[in-house]
Amino acid sequence: MKMTLIQAELPPELTARARSYVEDGWAADFNELLADALRRFLESHTARVTEAFVMDDVQWGLHGND
């Protein structure tokens, strides 16, 4: 798989926790952990999910009972 090199600034505490997670064997390496975290973020913020919540707001806002 073709990979892209990115440079990012992370808070030291977050970095230390992530490295500890890798050292404990929960992820193959730091890169894999970051890719997994990014994947999970994008999965939970998809347009489909966001749109469903907004349309739920429309129904509640206009037709709810509280």
Partner: protein, 171 residues
Amino acid sequence: METIDQNPPLVVCDAGPLIHLDELGSLDLLTDFPDVLVPDAVWREVDLHRPGVLTSPVVRLRRVAPRLAEPPELEAMAQVLGLHTGEWEALRVAIEHQPGILLTDDSAARLAAANLGIHAHGTIGILLRSIRRLQRSKNEILTVLRTLPVRSSLHLKRSLLDSVIREVENA
């Protein structure tokens, strides 16, 4: 009218709706709820980005801290969904104040809320609810929605916002 006779529940606020409603001149819509709780972490976040919200004369916000130990299912959810401190604390406080409503504009926080059985809504819901609760006219809310992209930091896809506007127009 039946809809305005019902007692609304209390609300627990994440930072997004507080900031977005204030940007839209609609923070007063929260006065319709008997209690507006703002968790500590959310309070600090709002204080950083839009401090005027916290001293606004139009609504009384109550700063609270979670009292109970964090439920294990929330801890797991926070890790899986990458929740920020404010969202995570808002969920904790919402769990402690059921059946309250969590107000958040964050999709991950709403996903977590749904999994935890917490009733959650966002800025759009509060705006539209104000028509039903006779706090605003339909035309007033349509004006807010049409100007939302330039008045607010709430980002909505144009086609989705257009759908919301159509729903209000046809209601």
